[in-house]
């Protein structure tokens, strides 16, 4: 092949790549797929860097997936006039993030901690891994990683196909759910429509998910899978539980000592899921004890008629429309009962 031919090959390559990319993008968009951001350590770190905003300009949220679905960030920001810095991570325990903020002398702001008991009071490495690695990434990130994040953000905001969890090669291969040998642990796959993510790190269910009970049942099946996997595990020893309470108290004390504020929230779940949680994590032993030990304020959804009646489509997270309602009432409770002040609600 001559030099002229490699030029032809390069042009052919560019044409094929551009046409194929445009084709896939159009296909996905015509099938109703919307932009969803990769919720990895770079995006988390971008939000983590926002915790130093003035106290009246932002509130920081940590927790598990529920607060990511249940807090409608546009509603929060339009009602309060301050940022919601979302640092919660799906399927994880928020304690590493709490300790990170507690050990950061520059953080003196307001913190809301979402409590999903099964995750909050867990010492399982799988529940601690993501928050710990995100915290590490934030503290170690290089100038090059920051620059790459900004460029990636630019591309992700324009291209639907750039969705690692949904459309990457490995995500599509995993979605085949090929049966494996007996004894091999296979992480269940969530339907794509269950969790789409915004740049502010809000998760939401798509209209297709809301309309399709098969998809909802599939997610309920995932919860059942985790419940079955957890069966037979010995209960946490009393000393280990006491150590968790103590570590949380130490962390909240540090934040409060600097003039910060910490509030716990128990977001809604429904149906058999909520019943199971009540049985496994009696309120007196966990929620009430947490508030008593730390001396922090708390909002439990079951205590407020305005937010105690939601039916979660897959038993554990609010639908996008209910998230708007929940957020409105949540802001009301914070303002009126807990005395929190916001730029728009002085």
């Amino acid at each position: 092949m001559l030099q002229k031919s490699i030029s032809k090959a390069a042009l052919f390559m560019v044409a094929l790549v551009v046409l194929t990319t445009i084709g896939i993008e159009i296909y996905l968009r015509t099938h109703g797929v919307e932009i969803s951001y990769d919720d990895g350590p770079p995006l988390w770190s971008d939000k983590r860097a926002m915790v130093y905003e003035p106290v009246d300009k932002s509130v920081v949220f940590i927790g598990s997936s529920r607060i990511k679905y249940d807090l409608d960030i546009p509603s929060w920001e339009s009602l309060t006039g301050c940022h919601a810095v979302q640092l919660a991570i799906e399927g994880s325990c928020p304690r590493p993030a709490l300790e990170d903020l507690a050990n950061d002398p520059a953080f003196k702001g307001r913190l809301i901690v979402d409590v999903t008991e099964g995750l909050f009071f867990s010492n399982a490495p799988s529940n601690l891994e993501s928050p710990s690695s995100n915290v590490k990434y934030f503290h170690d990130r290089t100038p090059a990683q920051r620059a790459s994040f900004e460029l990636n953000r630019l591309l992700e905001s324009q291209l639907v196909l750039l969705d690692k969890e949904g459309f990457s090669l490995n995500a599509r291969l995993d979605a085949l759910e090929l049966p494996s040998r007996p004894g091999v642990f296979m992480m269940p796959i969530f339907p794509l429509d269950f969790g789409r993510g915004t740049f502010e790190r809000q998760q939401y269910m798509t209209p297709r998910f809301m309309a399709d009970t098969t998809l909802q049942q599939k997610v309920i099946g995932v919860w059942n899978f985790f419940r079955e996997a957890g069966k037979g595990r010995p209960p946490m020893p009393a000393e280990a539980l006491a150590a968790i309470f103590q570590s949380v108290k130490d962390a909240t004390d540090k934040i409060k000592a600097r003039g910060g504020e910490v509030l716990f929230v128990r977001t809604p779940s429904s149906g058999p899921f909520w019943m199971g949680e009540q049985k496994s994590f009696p309120r007196e032993k966990y929620w009430e004890h947490l508030l008593a030990v730390t001396g922090c304020e708390g909002i439990h959804f079951a205590d407020y008629p305005a937010i105690d009646h939601f039916v979660c489509p897959e038993l554990s997270h609010l639908s996008p429309t209910d998230a708007v309602v929940f957020t409105r009432h949540f802001v009301d409770i914070l303002h009126q009962e807990k005395g929190w002040k916001f730029p728009k609600l002085p």
């Binding site: 490699i6 390559m13 094929l16 990683q145 790459s148």
Partner: protein
Amino acid sequence: MVFNSYTFIAFLAVILVLHNLPFSWKTKKVNLLLASYIFYAAWNPPFILLLWLSTVVDFFVGRALYTQEDPTKKKLLLIVSLIGNLGMLCFFKYGTFFLENFVAFTNAIGIDFHPAEPNIILPAGISFYTFTTLCYTIDMYRKESKPVKSMLDFSLFVTFFPHLVAGPIVRPPQLVPQFENPHAATQKQMLDGLLLLSLGLFMKVVLADGMLAGSADAVFNSTDMLTALDAWSGVFAFSGQIFFDFAGYSTCAIGVALCLGFVLPQNFNYPYAAIGFSDFWKRWHITLSAWLRDYLYIPLGGNRNGVRRMYFALMLTMLLGGLWHGANWTFVVWGGLHGLYLWVEKFVKDGRAANATEEDVVANMPSQWVRFLYALLTFMLINITWVFFRSGTFAKAWQMLESMFGMATEGKALLTSIALLKIVIVIPAMVMAHWLMRDKKVLDVAYQVSWWKLGLVWSAMILLLIWAQESSSSFIYFQF
């Protein structure tokens, strides 16, 4: 900055534009030098001071070494350079390792010594640029090449961003003359460079990170005894991962340099098609092997001082080569195992050569199939060495070997069908590709096929790169 990041793509685009503007050659070199510092500082800006220190010291010491006639003073200068370069490497890379071993030793002899745990961060690429500057001062000491005339050229030789962080390890005569005269890529070089960059990124992002890293990590991070299938699959996955990761980096480096009109030496030549271990080391990390041969093995006596001395030099070179890869005894064992393989191979070859005439050698040349089987045997034995390379501890390495050889009575099944499928497809394809390409060059092959076939393969690589969405993970060899 890593090659597999958006930042690097933008960075390269800016550099290519600047390099092709009608500036003077000196201005272009200053641009390249500043770009190289930005490339390096994008990791951890303070470590650029080490790079400057190393550059300045070795530039002046190198010149003094070349002109100094007094043998004592000359040796003293060489010692200054060795202490400067190796001292820095030892502190940052081996400081913690030495301290841990010292503590273990003192505790073993009954002294209760527990120092504070050091918190030393390894500067990216220190092992590579130390070897680059060391070979310059040693060459100056031996008067094997002339000192670099300008500080700008020497700084660029040390810092040139394509090779700075993970090689290829370049020698002054390979790169410095290219800085002396204006260089800009021809259209052919530019396209060749882009093709190599695409291939390198494909190897790293799609094959190493996308297809193999997950399985290798799962197996080597597991604390359980595994079934033989899982253990072998994990080792195969790692052997593929480390090849695609490191050869991918080298291919990117060579491609990027070519886009700027510079030629870097080849670093990999289908190592899994090697027939025997001396052949393997002529194909795997070629610039390091050559460095160790010229600056360690030969000064240790090489094969000039009898068989015993040769075996000693060979083993010591491999042990130190192992330690160069990481501050852990497992790397030393990895090097030692390669040394042992080389011993056995040398012993067998010498024995055969002593009893054979030239006609015998020609008459007994093995068939292609037999040679392929030898290559497979070499590949399998190299896989055993990767167990020590990848395992963080000897306990883990032993656990892996027990699992691999069926000594685990109740091994756990770990890898999913999809993970096994990836390994089953990628690894045999990799070995076959190495065998078929054994005596060829990738660019020669690219020029032999029709433009549309090359275009199809090229677009498949780019589309898979986009599809993989695995950008920005670090290269394994950065930690060495």
